[in-house]
Structure formats: C-alpha cells, structure tokens
C-alpha cells in the first residue's frame, strides 16, 4: 500500500512545492484541497473513503478548471468535466458496489476476499474500466480532457495531467490487480484495444492542434493509452499464467506512469512559462523563443526528447520495456493472442514516431525560427522559481532515463506486493545493464550510451574546432538564393502537420476552405473536429434526449395523475417486499 503511494506520489510531492510560484491567493485553497483529495485517494483503505476522496478530487479540480470563469469556453469546459467526472464516479461506485455485495463490506480487505463468479467479476471490471478510463481520458471517453486541461491555470494543468490521471491509473490497478482477484485474459484484450485506440487517436489529434496546451492535453490521452497498453499486456500475460512476463509488462506500465508525470509536468510548466512571458498559447504566433528564453528552451527540449521516447531520456526506457514485454508473445499458447499483440506493438511504434513528429513541430515552431508576433519578439526570461521548477523536472527526466535499474528497484515493490513477485532479473547484472528477461534476450545500458555519446561528441568537437577553420561567419540565410526570409514566410504549425493530416485525414472531421479565387484577399480556413463526437457522443446524447422526452410524458401537471403514480408505486413496492 505504502509503496504504491510512494511510487505514485513522488512526482506529486515534487509538484506540490513548485506550484507556489505564480499562484494567485484564491487558487491556493482549491489547489490544496485538490492535492489532499488525490493523496487521500491513494491512501484510502476502504471503498467508502476512496469514493469520498475521489469526489473531493473531482470537485476541487472542477473549481480549478472554472477558475477563469469569465471566459464562456472555460465555463463550458468545466461543466463538461463535471458531468463526465460524475458519470465516471457513478460507474466506479457501482463497481465497488458489486464487490461490496459479494465481500460483505466496504473495506478493501473484505473485497479482496470476495468470492466472485467470473460473470460478476467481468461486470465489476467493465464498470471500473469505464469509470477509471473516463478519468484517465481513454478514447472515446476523453472528450473532457482537451477541454478542461487547457482551461485550468498552467501549473494546475501540470498537476491534472501529471498526477490526477495517474490517480485514475492507480485506482484501476488497485481495483483490477488487487481487489478483483483472479484476472481473465479477455479483459487484457479489451484494455489493449482501448489503449491502442487511445494512443493512436490521441497523438494524431495532438499533431493537428495549434494551441499548445490543448496539444499537450491530447498528448496525455496518448500517453495514458500507452500506459493502458502496458497494463493490458500485463493482464493478458497474468490471465494466461505467465506471471513473470505479466510482471515485466506491469513494471513497464508503472515506469511510464512515472515518466509521464515527469515530462508532461515539465512540458506544462514550459507552456506556462511561455504563457507567462508572451501571453500566447497559439503556436502560430510563436517562434524564436529559444533565443529569448534560453533556459526554458533547453528544459522544454529535454521534455520533448523525453516524451518522444528517444534515448537516453526516460520515455525511451518505458517504451523499450513495453516492447520487450510485447516481444515475449511467442510464449503464449493462443494463436489469436500471438497475432494480436504484434499488431498492438505496431500501433505503439507508429504512435512513437508520430509523437516525435508532434514535438518536432512544437519545438520547431515555438522555439526555433523567427518570432511571428510582437509579444513573442519581446518575450523575457521567466523568474528564477519557474525556471528552477522546470530544471528540477528536466534533471529527473535525464536521471530516470540514465539509471533505469535504480528506478525499477524502487518500482519493484508494487508488483511484489500486488502480484507476489518482482522483477529481480532487471538489475541482476549490475546497475549498468538493464536486462528485463535475460542478458541473452535483451540488454540496454543507458549509462554507457550516455558516456559514449558524450565522449564521441567531445572528440568530434575537439578535432573539428582546431586551427584555421574554427571561424564561423554570420550572414543572411541562403534559402536557395531567394530574398532573405521574413517571419511570415516560415513554415507554420498547420503547414507542418499538413502531410500527416492528408494521410490520416479520414480519422477526423476536417473542413478546409480557401475562399473564392476572385476574392481580393482569400483566407485559408481549417477546422478539425473530433470524430468521437459524431460517432459516440451524438448517439448517446440523442438516446438520452429521447428517453427523457418519454419520461416527460409523466409530467402532466395534474396533481391527481401524480397521486395515482404514487399510489401505483407504493402498491408495487409492497408487492415486491411481501
């Protein structure tokens, strides 16, 4: 229990003392409530306290989202968030209800001992998956996330994305891996499918955004998808009786939980720093920030490399572990599973590559090139506290990437407690070597990679910067001999994403128009909609509406009819009881 709390709470604690920096006094109360709500969720030992803390977390974060309530869009986002949080909360409550009725009590101890039939266990699983998945922002229940996260102040966005989503993951793990008892591999398949869909649609949606914070929010959907892919693999392996492999996938998922908290927190703080000094969230207005804000630029670059799962940073390690787990599918007996998991890993690979494209776009457009607006041209360095917060997280990103064996030995307590076995072989060959299965199967030495990169770079620098050729002359950009480029001639974020938009356009609702040709000043307009609204929410909304229209018929306004209904209900209840 405590180890889970420590594992999940490390980053929250970090963020806890950071968020004091640009906080407004009114914010403090709810932020504190929010934090303590999350803390209580993790510490809860029975379903009752869990649900109360869960609601405290949801409600206080509602007020944080609605903080800048003068803006109608923020109010709408906050309401959507509240609505979805309650539907999710209801599903979780029902899930606990199933467990409690079998176990005869709300304490986790009683639930753990509950003798569930497989059918009821599956019902409880589905309810928990819907409830926690909604909070975690899994597709198609993610609609609130890209609305609510950008609306909150930046450090709260960092907390929500970095920690609150992880609390949902914690809840899911606690419910499925701990309380439900025997897991079934079919659940794993469902989690894998939803996780893959989330990862892919999340990253594609992120790639198409031009609002920095919205982009980061969509990227959270993607990362949670990756985490759930790991958990799904773990469920599949555990359900088919391959406990060591299940542990490996589980550790990979937990590692990614930590990593995502670190780099997404870092990126949201970076976005907050940009917002602070330029009042801009729109990528199309940024540019050249690296030279105006070098420290933020450096830390943001680290965050981008880490989230793009590139070595030697932390995102790579968890993705590597997930791949290693997926590669062990040959041990499974079922041919269907053996061919399903490779497809999932193909999705994971595609996701990784698209994340790299997304963050090349973000960094290239925001920090490189020339400023696209006046505010941005005069951006200034943010205060020391904000830089320190980012630097701390950036350092942790590097540390978690370079010393995976140490991190895994910390995480290891969680599977040892929940699954009864850890992953001792990961660090069995010294801290230099990460060997999740065995050294013959796969090994990765992050410290040596870093050392070799550093040595070779130093060598290249030393050998090339000697002598007469050291000089570098500044001149205008060549650009194939055209006139010196202006800021408006740069590639924009929309232009950068255009090829990929064209390739994957079918997944989105895209409207594009250029105006008429005879127009003096044609304007290019582009709107990108989320298909999940058409495919999922609109039918649900219609169903709810038509159901309520039927219920409305009861409301005739006539007192006698109401009395008749009351009488009928009473008679019915008496009949049921007797």
């Amino acid at each position: 229990m405590v180890s889970v709390a420590v594992g999940l709470y490390g980053p929250a604690y970090v963020r806890g003392f950071e968020h004091g920096r640009d906080s407004l006094t009114a914010l403090g109360g709810f932020a504190g409530l929010f934090l303590s709500g999350m803390l209580l969720v993790v510490l809860a030992d029975d379903a009752f306290l869990f649900m109360v803390a869960w609601e405290v977390m949801s409600l206080s974060s509602y007020f944080l989202v609605a903080f800048q309530h003068e803006n109608a869009a923020n109010r709408r986002a906050a309401f959507l968030y509240l609505l979805m949080a309650h539907i999710g909360g209801l599903a979780i409550l029902l899930g606990y209800g199933v467990l409690a009725s079998f176990g005869g009590g709300f304490a986790f101890e009683a639930m753990r001992a509950a003798p569930l039939t497989p059918g009821w266990a599956s019902v409880a699983f589905v309810l928990a998956f819907i409830g926690f998945g909604m909070k975690a922002g899994l597709v198609p229940l993610h609609a609130w996330l890209p609305e609510a996260h950008p609306a909150a102040p930046s450090h709260i966005s960092a907390l929500m994305s970095g920690v609150m989503l992880k609390v949902a993951v914690y809840g899911f793990i606690r419910f499925v891996f701990d309380l439900l008892g025997e897991v079934q591999w079919q659940w794993g398949v469902a989690v894998l499918a939803i996780g893959s869909v989330s990862a892919l649609t999340g990253v594609l949606a992120a790639l198409l955004q031009t609002d920095l914070k919205r982009l980061l929010a969509y990227s959270s959907v993607e990362n949670l998808g990756i985490i759930f892919i790991g958990l799904g693999l773990a469920l599949v392996f555990l359900g088919t009786g391959h406990a060591p492999l299940g542990t490996l996938a589980f550790v990979a998922a937990l590692y990614h939980v930590l990593n995502h908290a670190l780099f997404k927190g870092l990126l949201f703080l970076g976005a907050g720093a940009i917002l602070h000094s330029t009042h801009e969230r729109d990528l199309e207005q940024m540019g050249g920030l690296l030279r105006r804000m070098p420290w933020t630029g450096l830390f943001f670059l680290i965050g981008c490399i880490a989230i793009a799962a590139l070595p030697p940073f932390n995102g790579f390690v968890s993705e590597w572990l997930t791949f290693q787990a997926a590669l062990q599918t040959w041990q499974l007996e079922s041919g269907v599973l053996r061919s399903l998991i490779p497809i999932v890993s193909a999705v994971l690979a595609l996701t990784g590559a698209l994340v790299a494209a997304t963050f090349v776009k973000v960094y290239g457009v925001a920090f490189l090139g020339q400023a696209r607006s006046r505010h941005v041209r005069h951006a200034r360095q943010v205060p020391f506290g904000m830089r320190a917060g980012q630097g701390w997280l950036a350092g942790l990103c590097l540390l978690f990437g370079v010393l995976p064996t140490a991190v895994i030995s910390v995480i290891d307590g969680v599977p040892r407690q929940l699954l009864g076995a850890g992953l001792p072989q990961a660090a069995a060959h010294g801290w230099l070597w990460l060997t999740p299965v065995s050294p013959a199967t796969a090994s990765y030495s992050a410290p040596l990679v870093v050392v070799l990169l550093a040595v070779l770079t130093a060598l290249a620098l030393w050998s090339l910067r000697r002598g007469a050729v050291r000089r570098v002359r500044r001149c205008d950009a060549w650009d194939c001999g055209f006139a010196p480029p202006t800021a408006r001639m740069q590639y924009t974020a929309t232009a950068f994403a255009q090829p990929i938009r064209q390739v994957f356009g079918l997944l989105f609702h895209i409207e594009e128009s250029v105006g008429r040709r005879e127009d003096g000043a044609p304007r290019y307009q582009l709107s990108i909609g989320d298909r999940s609204w058409d495919l999922f929410y609109a039918p649900v909304m219609r169903a709810v509406e038509s159901a309520s229209r039927r219920v409305v018929r009861l409301q005739s306004g006539n007192v006698r009819v109401y009395l008749g209904w009351t009488l009928a209900t009473l008679v019915l209840l008496l009949w049921i009881i007797s």
Binding site: P294, A346, A353, G369, A440, A442, L464, R473, D479
Partner: protein
C-alpha cells in the same frame, strides 16, 4: 579477451566512419556507368568531405545555438548507432549496450535533431523538409520495428549479435524472413533518402526532403551532416547484409577471421550498392503523397512477416 573485444569494437566503429564515403562513391560510380557517363572517381566523396572540413562555416543571423550543435549530435548519434551493428565480427561488446530497439531509437534521435535544425533558420524550405521527413519517418519507423521484431521473435532476442548467431546456426528459408527482408529494404530506401522516396542528387526545391533540411549548412557543419547520411546508408547496408546473408562474418577476433569478415562484408556491400544503383536508374521518384503507399507496403510486408512467424513457425 574483453580488451581485445573492445579494441575490435573501436576498430569497427572507425571502419564505419572510414568506409561510409566509399559506399556512396561506389553507388554514384555504378549509377554513372549505367547512364553512360564516366562519373566522378570512387574516392570523390572523401575529397568533398575534406574540402568542406577546411572551409569556413557560415551561419545565418537567425540561427539559434541549436543550429550549430545539431551537426555534432546528428553525426555522433548516427555513428554510435552504426557501431552497434556488427560489420566484420559478431560478438562485439557494443552490441550488448544497445539492442535493435535502441538502434532504432538512436536513429530517431538523430532525425529529431536533423528536423529541428531544418526548422531553425526559419526558411520555408527547411520547414518543408522537416515536415516531410517526419511524415516519411513516422510511417517507416513502425515498418522497421516490425521487420526487426520478426527476427527478434525468431531468435528470441533483440540483441543483434544473437540474431546473427541464430541465423548462422540454423539457417533456413523462412517465409517470415523473406517478408521481413522485403519490408526492411523498402524502409532502408525511404530512411536513407534514396529514389523513389527522395532523390539524393536533387536540388530542385519542391521535391527535396533530406537536402532541404541541410540547405543552410556549410563548411564543417555540412561535412558532418553529409558524413552522417553516408554512415546511415552504410548502417542499413550492413544491417541487411549481415542479418539476412550472414555468411563470412567473423565469429572470433583472430586476424584471419576479421580479414575474412572484412572481405565478405565488402563484397556484400558492393553487391547491395550495385543493386541500389540499378534500382535508382530504373525507377523514377514518386510524388510525396505516393510515398505513404510505398511505406504502407513496407509495413504490410513486415507485419505479414511477423504474423506468418507467430502463426506458422512458433507452433510448428
């Protein structure tokens, strides 16, 4: 023993850097002969590199520090990636530091900085190149991973040395390997910017991908970028040659074995280079939006390889 092994690894890394321009020179020569030209000497790429290294570097006013750091990062990362791929001998210690997935990751890191460098000066061509490069790589990377996963699953290891050992030990014509080979060749063509995806010889602004990102580079920075691209070509060549046709590669560090290994890989690369040159002469460059279809074919082949492995070969 370990000292010898590390020595051999170092030697091999140097060999990569030394041989990379030669392969490019050879391909250009064959291509020229096929086009009835005499072509530049095979050693011309070395002269180009030397010329660029002693020239003064010019950097645009609008460039940030990242622009000047990127060539070093790109070159070093590609070089490190290359040194993990067995060239003349199998059981090198560098292969244990980084397996196939790390290799793909390192190449992605190099590409990340290459694309950022393309966007740095703020010219339209740089952004265009970066955008297209990321499109191509986003589609090529999954195909590459699927192809190497096919091998990794057969060998039960993602370690390149183990994969090659496995191939040497139990060589058989497997359908999955044929699919993987097809997929990997298509990926290699796309990733190294060869026809029909990109044309390394073009400076026609609207069609270039890789060259567009390098437009603003000059002097030693350009030399490093070019050298990195040559290294990448050699890396893919060695990967295909040594995984799918592993014969002759040195299995110990005796001079005789290393010599045979060197000769074998030399011949294999000559053949692969000639095949690439013939392919580039026969084919025309595709429109950019045909490239996704090309890469989807690669992904499909690689996935078929993986599926045929898990369905046909694991149970059997």
């Amino acid at each position: 023993m370990t000292a010898v092994a590390w020595g051999a690894a170092l030697l091999q890394a140097l060999l990569y850097a030394a041989l990379a321009p030669l392969l490019v020179g050879w391909i250009r020569k064959v291509k020229a002969r096929l086009q009835n030209r005499r072509g530049a000497p095979v050693l011309q790429p070395y002269r180009d590199l030397r010329k660029l290294l002693v020239k003064e570097a010019r950097v645009a006013h609008t460039a940030s520090p990242l622009f000047r750091a990127a060539p070093y990062i790109v070159f070093v990362t590609t070089w490190l990636a290359a040194s993990t791929v067995p060239l003349v001998a199998v059981s090198l210690p560098t292969a244990a530091i980084a397996d196939i997935i790390v290799l793909v990751g390192l190449l992605a890191l190099a590409r990340f900085f290459l694309a950022l460098a393309g966007m740095d000066v703020g010219t339209a061509f740089g952004g265009m190149g970066a955008s297209r490069e990321m499109l191509v790589s986003a589609l090529a990377e999954p195909a590459m991973l699927m192809a190497v996963f096919t091998l990794a699953m057969s060998a039960h290891s993602t370690n390149l040395a183990s994969v090659i050992d496995y191939q040497l030990g139990a060589f058989a014509l497997r359908p999955s390997f044929l699919f993987a080979l097809g997929g990997l060749i298509l990926v290699a063509i796309a990733e190294t910017g060869r026809i029909p995806v990109d044309n390394p010889a073009t400076h026609l602004e609207l069609t270039m991908i890789h060259e567009a990102m390098l437009l603003e580079y000059s002097g030693r920075h350009l030399a490093l970028m070019e050298w990195a691209a040559q290294l990448k070509l050699l890396l893919y060549g060695a990967l295909i040659a040594n995984i799918f046709f592993p014969w002759g590669i040195g299995q110990s560090f005796t001079p005789a074995d290393l010599g045979i290994g060197l000769a074998a890989v030399f011949l294999k690369l000559l053949a692969l280079g000639a095949a690439l040159a013939i392919g580039e002469t026969v084919l025309a460059k595709m429109r950019l939006f045909r490239a996704p279809a090309f890469l989807n074919l690669a992904l499909l082949l690689a996935l078929l390889g993986l599926l045929s492995h898990v369905i046909l070969e694991v149970g059997a």
